[in-house]
Symmetry: C2
Subunit: 264 residues, 2 copies
């Protein structure tokens, strides 16, 4: 299970403030906490700063790399921004994310190839986001085709079938779960990943909804997630779910997480 720590994102008020005040210590604390909690990649996002995204993202990359050897997940929809900051990564990063939108896809794929990155690919075009199972699997298929045609190994591709808030639509989440299972079966070797937090928007007890969806998705084959690994309830659900689906031989990881105090 590849865990991408999502906390260093400028859409969070505290992160935006830390960026604006050059508070490297705050950002570094977030990076270290996520690395310690089990993140495999540390996501860095400065997307809220239109026109200054590249500058701020470069700063984030610098300060995070000063305190952790974990690879980064460089998070921007803009190929120019990715191109600008990519050479700074000390360890091969993940790129978050491409879509089927030609400008984004054609702008980023050469960078993915050149740097040998892993890449997250969203099931959306420039004008529409996949809603039904069929749409998700179809777009996943197109992404697989285009990405592998460019020379990226399937093992480097992380498909995100997208989730929507349950509070506005209780039907589409099942489509996401079904799409995960179908994508993992149809393209052996590919990965699926998911940002969770959208799903619980507008509902009480959001952490419960997020962790329950994560378990359900792992039960359908999800093998990566964009999450807050410092959320202990979420992390214990993740570790337990991996054990339940047979991905934790002799319960070693579960027992280790329990002993290490990773449980609520």
């Amino acid at each position: 299970m590849i865990i991408i720590g999502e906390r260093i994102n400028s859409s969070r008020e505290q992160i935006a403030q830390a960026i604006l005040s050059n508070d490297a210590g705050f950002i570094q604390k977030e990076a270290k906490a996520q690395a310690k909690a089990g993140a495999n990649y540390i996501d860095v996002n400065a997307g809220s700063f239109v026109g200054e995204e590249a500058k701020h993202l470069r700063w984030l990359i610098e300060v995070v790399q000063d305190v952790t050897d974990h690879p980064l997940c460089i998070d921007s929809p803009d190929p120019e921004v990715i191109k600008f900051v990519l050479p700074m990564a000390k360890i091969t990063p993940m790129i978050n994310s491409i879509t089927l939108e030609p400008y984004r896809l054609e702008g980023m794929l050469p960078l993915v190839v050149e740097h040998g990155c892993n890449v997250i690919a969203l099931c959306q075009t420039g004008s529409s986001m996949a809603k039904t199972t069929e749409e998700k699997v179809k777009m996943a298929s197109q992404l697989v085709e285009k990405v592998t045609a460019s020379g990226v190994p399937l093992d480097d591709l992380y498909i995100d079938p997208l989730v929507y808030p349950l509070s506005t639509d209780t039907e589409t989440t099942l489509c996401t779960l079904e799409a995960i299972e179908q994508i993992m079966k149809q393209f052996p070797g590919v990965h699926t990943t998911c940002g969770l937090t959208n799903i619980s928007y507008g509902l009480p007890n959001r952490r419960l909804v997020n962790r329950t969806f994560l378990v359900a998705a792992i039960a359908r084959g999800l093998d990566s997630a964009i999450i807050d690994p410092t959320d202990k309830g979420l992390y214990e659900s993740l570790k337990t779910a991996l054990m339940v689906v047979g991905k934790d031989k002799f319960c070693v990881e579960y027992l280790k997480a329990f002993r290490d105090g990773g449980f609520e």
Copy 2:
């Protein structure tokens, strides 16, 4: 989701004591608590009392029926015991359980037919319990064939594909999950159910393991469970999982359970 409340089982020390001391109040408190917490059926089991099972089970049925209008799930492996107590049920009960063992199957099926009961059927014969996905689905198929041939509608059949402790085998739980999905797809209209507690035997934080498995099983199609509905963590996971898989239109049940204080 059909919830069978498992607490009135003589394998629990407090229940065995209450039976021996004719403490109807204790049993009735357990029955009412489970009914209030969301059980659809109240399981009654006196299986620990070899030779006196029928007598004690009859008493359990009497005292439980005195305080609740919920149907019972009459729990015994012995067709003679079931036959003895079945006429006492005021509301059509569920029978827990048949297997492919000829004595048990042929002894109980006529009772199921005569009384129009729902019935739980375990994926096991007299000599072996299904372990692999293939074994589970094969035995489920045999159970479907035999039960429907006797005149029982598919909708009255609850197949339990069995779970084993993760602590002794981390492979077979995935088989249970896969079997649930395959059984639900191959026999539209049939139900699947599961007793959970076995799965966490020997592990720390058993409640976490139980509720995580329940969510995973619901994600694969499980539509009934033999659980302790008064376990709030388990119950909130169940309600949330049903919402996540699209079985709670407009999140009505989730929000109701939250408002009613059914959440931890």
